[in-house]
């Protein structure tokens, strides 16, 4: 077998390659220099032409920035609410006509046992299980007496609902199991029932059942805008108790029914299969009744985000219209400019510039102008978005894709509209162009 011969990279070949590359780079540098000189020569016209592109880009970017920032706020809210990787299960009434069937009567509904059974479906995937049970009771403290909602919670409720302890401690496993008379108060509840006092170690009376306050939660604050109310304010009013306490001591419920079950699955790819299996399991455990509703937080969020894309389209359309108008104006200005430069084109052709060279010269000028418009538009759009989000009191956020969209649209329009004058220029006959008056 013959050995393959390698093509030797001789110094002559390398030198030739470097020379061609150098000439090519030099030609482009010259085109850019010439285009820049031409644009600088007519600053007013250049500014006018770039303005259309700038407005289009600024319109797209500004709109996208607003939309992106709102979306990011919504995402942050969801994360503060516990995260995107949660699957909630809620009880829902079963549709019925007439008296309940025997199966319906025998079905105890969504209950604590469903949590453990559900988690067992995917022990590797489920990273947390939470449950809650609500009740309304008369709450008395040394400082206040009022009817309030109390929340019985399960083991992973605190992290999964986005709470964090401020002082004291959480519930021990034994306390959760036994339904011990202990409570953790949200900052609002602590303020309401123990104004100006330390609630830790104090006793609250819940409908005649005393519970000891063992901890308090950090205050939860989230505002969608500067003047908006605290969207998490209601969570600060929580009076958290072991779920078993609410179910057994307050409600005397032998089935330990719950108002909400939550499963955390950090790996998104497992969520769909888990939700399907969980639905099947719950239906089997609930006497074939679909008396529950699943809520995949991540999927719901993505669905909402997709629906919000319509605003992006509106912003994109307004930008496109601005660019379309600018493009038509620019074509006319370029054509007028070409009429002023016909002899110059003729001279270049006479000196040896090929038609493609003339075409590229005009295109370079138009694209440099577009680039300037894009840069100004990006800066303007950012400024516009910054002012707008400042006024709305939310942090500015922009996806890299928004910059890309604005830039690509403007570049595409700039390119498309530059073709006509560049094509006309390169089609000129050198003789006719030189004689042009």
């Amino acid at each position: 077998m013959k050995a393959g011969r390698a093509f030797p990279a001789t110094p002559a070949v390398c030198s030739l390659t470097a020379s061609i590359a150098g000439a090519w780079t030099s030609l482009w540098a010259e085109r850019l220099r010439e285009a820049w000189a031409e644009l600088r020569e007519q600053p007013g016209r250049t500014a006018l032409q770039a303005l259309g592109v700038t407005l289009g880009v600024a319109s797209i970017l500004g709109g996208f920035a607003l939309s992106d920032s709102l979306r990011r706020q919504s995402e942050r809210y969801q994360l503060r609410m516990g995260g995107m990787d949660l699957l909630h299960v809620y009880p829902q009434p079963v549709a019925r006509s007439g008296p309940p069937s025997a199966l319906q009567t025998a079905n105890p509904g969504l209950r604590a046992g469903d949590a453990a059974a559900g988690a067992a479906l995917d022990p590797q995937g489920v990273a947390g299980v939470s449950l809650s049970r609500m009740d309304g009771v008369q709450v008395r403290s040394p400082f206040a007496l009022r009817r309030s909602q109390v929340t019985g919670i399960g083991a992973d409720f605190i992290p999964m609902a986005g709470y964090a302890l401020a002082r004291g401690r959480g519930f021990a496993a034994a306390e959760l199991e036994a339904g011990a008379p202990v409570a953790i108060l949200g900052s609002g509840a602590a303020q309401r029932f123990f104004p100006g006092a330390d609630p830790l170690g104090q006793v609250l009376d819940l409908g005649g059942r005393p519970v000891t306050v063992v901890g308090t939660f950090q205050a939860r604050v989230f505002r969608f805008g500067k003047d908006q109310p605290n969207a998490l304010g209601w969570q600060n009013r929580i009076i958290a108790l072991p779920a078993a306490f609410v179910q057994r001591r307050l409600q005397a419920d032998p089935h330990q029914r719950v108002d909400e079950l939550s499963f955390r699955l950090p790996e998104p790819s497992r969520m769909v299969a888990f939700a399907r299996d969980l639905a099947t399991l719950l239906q089997a455990r609930h006497r074939s009744q679909i008396d529950f509703r699943l809520d995949d937080v991540g999927a719901r969020f993505r669905r909402q985000q997709r629906q919000g894309r319509v605003y992006d389209l509106v912003f994109l359309l307004s930008g496109v219209l601005a660019m379309l108008g600018a493009g038509i104006v620019n074509v006319n200005i370029h054509l007028a400019s070409l009429r002023e430069r016909v002899r110059e084109v003729g001279l270049k052709l006479a000196l040896g510039a090929s038609a493609p060279e003339v075409f590229l010269g005009f295109m370079t000028e138009a694209m440099l102008l577009t680039l300037l418009g894009i840069l100004a538009g990006l800066a303007g759009g950012l400024g516009f978005a910054w002012i707008l989000t400042r006024c709305l009191g939310m942090p500015l956020f922009l996806r890299p894709g928004s910059f890309l969209w604005a830039g690509v649209m403007a570049f595409g329009f700039g390119f498309g509209f530059a073709l006509v004058p560049a094509w006309k220029a390169c089609r000129l006959s050198p003789m006719e162009a030189l004689r042009y008056e």
Partner: protein, 231 residues
């Protein structure tokens, strides 16, 4: 001497049908390398049209044209551009300098289209400006020069890619007689160096500086003094 230009039966027709105008009508012209030829004739005689065809700026409607032995009348646009760039140097009556480019850059222009690297381009342009006596004006804009200086820049530009043929269309038409004389002397010197010079003029005094005169009338050669003694 080898032939620099060999045109046979060149005709140029503008318009069609009843409004067709024959600007050139069967011109035969043979120019040897190194000649200094003046193409003379009254306005409308077709001399500028012939120069445009000989300079590959335009195509003949009929006839054949060989430049340095190569048939060019049917070459594609890009090849013609290459020929204009490397083998022909143009000098125009109105100088046709780029007003916003420096003198140096104007001279560099043909080399730019040839793809000459920047350092070499710069060196050659300065050398040419030295040759036409304008080395100290390199950074000026054309608007800052006199008519004679502008025409010298144009001649320097025409020589940039070392063309074998120089085509000058009324190069002294916009100059006073003294400056015009200097420019013609420059052309004579270039011819002495071996360049083929083809000069279009309507001025018999200018034409007299050339060794051969070809007179056009109504698109036809009316008189040809024939090649004179070599440079």
């Amino acid at each position: 001497m080898p032939l620099a230009i060999e045109a046979r039966g060149i005709a140029k027709v503008y318009g069609t049908g009843g409004v067709a105008v024959r600007a050139l009508d069967g011109v035969d012209l043979r120019v040897e390398a190194g000649e200094f030829l003046a193409l003379i004739g009254p306005s409308g005689s077709g001399k500028s049209t012939l120069m445009a065809i000989l300079g590959c700026l335009d195509r003949p409607s009929e006839g054949s044209y060989r430049l340095d032995g190569e048939a060019v009348e049917a070459l594609p646009g890009r090849a013609l551009a290459r020929i204009r760039n490397t083998r022909i140097g143009f000098v125009f009556q109105a100088y046709n300098l780029l007003p916003r480019a420096s003198v140096l850059r104007n001279v560099e222009l043909p080399m730019l289209y040839r793809g000459t690297p920047r350092p070499e381009r710069r060196r050659r342009a300065l050398e040419l400006l030295e040759q036409v006596g304008l080395a100290d004006q390199a950074d000026k804009l054309p608007g800052q020069l006199s008519g004679g200086q502008k025409q010298r820049v144009a001649i320097g530009r025409a020589l940039a890619n070392r063309p074998s043929i120089l085509l000058a269309d009324e190069p002294t038409g916009a100059l006073d007689s003294h400056t015009g004389g200097e420019i013609l002397a420059l052309f004579q010197a270039l011819n002495q160096e071996g360049h083929t010079v083809l000069l279009v003029t309507h001025d018999p005094g200018v034409a007299a500086r050339a060794r051969r005169q070809v007179e056009l009338r109504d698109g036809r050669i009316a008189r040809d003094t024939g090649p004179g003694p070599g440079p």
